[in-house]
């Protein structure tokens, strides 16, 4: 009963919002799949999926790699080895995504040029670099807590049977830590998908940018942004379904 009640309230709210849009009339025609104009608008909007997914996937992989490279020295018993990692994490975590995006996109090429390595950064790679760096502070912490959850005795035993530090990580610690690391890393993927919307401001033609462009020509913000949110919702729900599955799989491994 209460479930239906909620749905009605939600629908009511939607209708109210719909009535407030634009000139106060319905505007769903912009994305009406039964008209050719609506169809072409929908195709235009949905066309951003591929860019969003590409951007998020590459940024996540880079962030996972970078995060590990930052996390490992961060666990050293030597404070001077630990320090750069700590500083990196605190520093990167403190910078809001948007200013960092501007800095990478507009500033980094200038810095590189003055250092004698002229590079051009397009919107795609600018967004990926920013997302990867900004997320790597979080993945580093995920690695750290996962690795530190493995008892110290494991490292000690590995070292006494002659394994080097990197062999110890590779054959003993990471295989055990991975079940604590993978689910939260997959969650970071969701975070990156959502944050990738910022790439729109430097001109990356992903989901949000396309919605903005259509709003400018059609002037139907409510309808178009509603569809935009639904697009992200579908994407994120699919990923979180996968994360759930992964968590269950990892969890059941633990009991085996």
């Amino acid at each position: 009963m209460t479930r239906f009640f909620k749905i009605w309230i939600l629908l009511g709210a939607c209708l109210f919002l719909a009535a407030c849009s634009g000139d106060g009339t319905w505007g769903w025609y912009v994305i009406d799949p039964s008209t050719p104009a609506g169809q072409s608008n929908i195709w235009f909007l949905v066309g951003g999926f591929w860019a969003t997914i590409q951007l998020s996937l590459i940024a996540t992989v880079l962030s996972m790699t970078l995060g590990l490279l930052v996390a490992l020295p961060g666990m050293s018993s030597n404070r001077w080895v630990r320090l750069p990692s700590r500083v990196y994490i605190e520093f990167v975590r403190a910078i809001p995504l948007l200013p960092m995006l501007f800095w990478v996109f507009y500033g980094l090429p200038v810095v590189m040029k003055s250092l004698g390595f002229p590079i051009t950064i397009d919107a795609f790679w600018g967004a990926i670099i920013t997302l990867a760096i900004s997320d790597s502070a979080f993945t580093a912490e995920i690695y750290r807590s996962g690795i530190q959850s493995i008892p110290k005795g494991q490292t000690e035993a590995a070292r006494t049977v002659g394994l080097t530090y990197s062999q110890t990580m590779r054959y003993v610690i990471l295989p055990q830590a991975i079940r604590r690391i993978l689910p939260p890393l997959a969650n970071q993927f969701i975070y990156i998908v959502k944050m990738s919307a910022f790439a729109s401001v430097i001109g990356m033609q992903e989901l949000t940018r396309r919605a903005n462009e259509l709003v400018v020509t059609e002037y139907r913000p409510l309808e178009i942004y509603t569809l935009l949110i639904l697009e992200y919702l579908v994407l994120v729900l699919i990923i979180s379904f996968f994360v759930r599955w992964l968590e269950r799989k990892m969890g059941s491994d633990e009991n085996r």
């Binding site: 008892p151 005795g153 494991q154 000690e156 035993a157 590995a158 070292r159 006494t160 049977v161 002659g162 394994l163 080097t164 062999q167 054959y171 003993v172 295989p175 055990q176």
Partner: protein, 246 residues
């Protein structure tokens, strides 16, 4: 005499922050010698034997193992190649089968082929009397079996010296003897052993020398016959009375 000295510890000092754990510890061990270290909780026994293979760092003094100084560059790694260690909590690798626990070191650190490493692992599993458990995961074994796997895992690296840190303290009483039996056999084969334990029956049977520690110092050393007959210090006497009561 000095020629077959495999461990030389000289005026070793170590502290954790303000807390002095080891104070001027001197200890020499000859090849094939079996030493049992005992003492009250917190007296620094674990810290001392963990210093020997570089699991703990020390503040001053020196440790030389088989002619290799721990403080020389690369010394720790070379010493670890000579020294095996068995822990109170076994520390087996839970994600690997018993046989993979035994072959990991020889394959990765010594470059043995899987075939050779497994053949050697089976040999040592026979020696600790559990070859039939080779394909199981550690968690499917009893505590006594797990500790015997841990001993076999160390032996696979062909160490010259074995360190034991309370190897039977985490075991149920009925499993203690199966582990001690393996250790007695190891002693018979001439292995140099440094054993932290309160198993006085074992000490009496295999120890060449007993070392009693208290408050981070070596308070007394002597053969089992000497110390069990008449400990020289009151502290050792009190300690022995306490643990021999049960």
């Amino acid at each position: 005499m000095t020629a077959d000295r495999v461990i030389e510890i000289a005026s070793l000092n170590k502290s954790f922050g303000d807390f002095q754990v080891l104070t001027n510890v001197d200890l020499n061990v000859s090849l094939g010698e079996r030493i049992v270290i005992c003492g009250p909780s917190g007296s620094g026994k674990s810290t001392l034997i963990r210093c020997v293979n570089g699991l703990e760092q020390y503040d001053s003094g020196s440790i030389t193992v088989d002619g290799i100084s721990l403080s020389e560059p690369g010394g720790v790694d070379r010493v670890r190649a000579e020294v095996g260690m068995v822990f109170q909590q076994f520390n087996l690798f839970p994600h690997l089968s018993v046989i993979d626990n035994l072959t990991l070191g020889p394959m990765k650190a010594r470059g043995l082929s899987r075939k050779d490493a497994e053949a050697q692992a089976m040999e040592y599993l026979e020696r600790v009397k559990i070859p039939e458990q080779a394909r199981k995961r550690p968690r499917d074994l009893s505590g006594g079996q797990q500790q015997r796997v841990a001993i076999a895992r160390s032996l696979c690296m062909k160490p010259k010296i074995m360190l034991f840190d309370e190897p039977t303290s985490a075991l149920d009483p009925e499993m203690i003897s199966e582990v001690l039996d393996v250790m007695v056999e190891l002693a018979r084969d001439g292995m140099t052993m440094l054993v932290v334990t309160h198993e006085m029956g074992f000490a009496r049977k295999v120890a060449d020398r007993m070392v009693f520690m208290d408050g981070g110092e070596i308070v007394e050393t002597g053969t089992p016959a000497e110390v069990f007959e008449a400990p020289k210090t009151q502290r050792f006497k009190t300690f022995l009375d306490k643990i021999l009561q049960h």
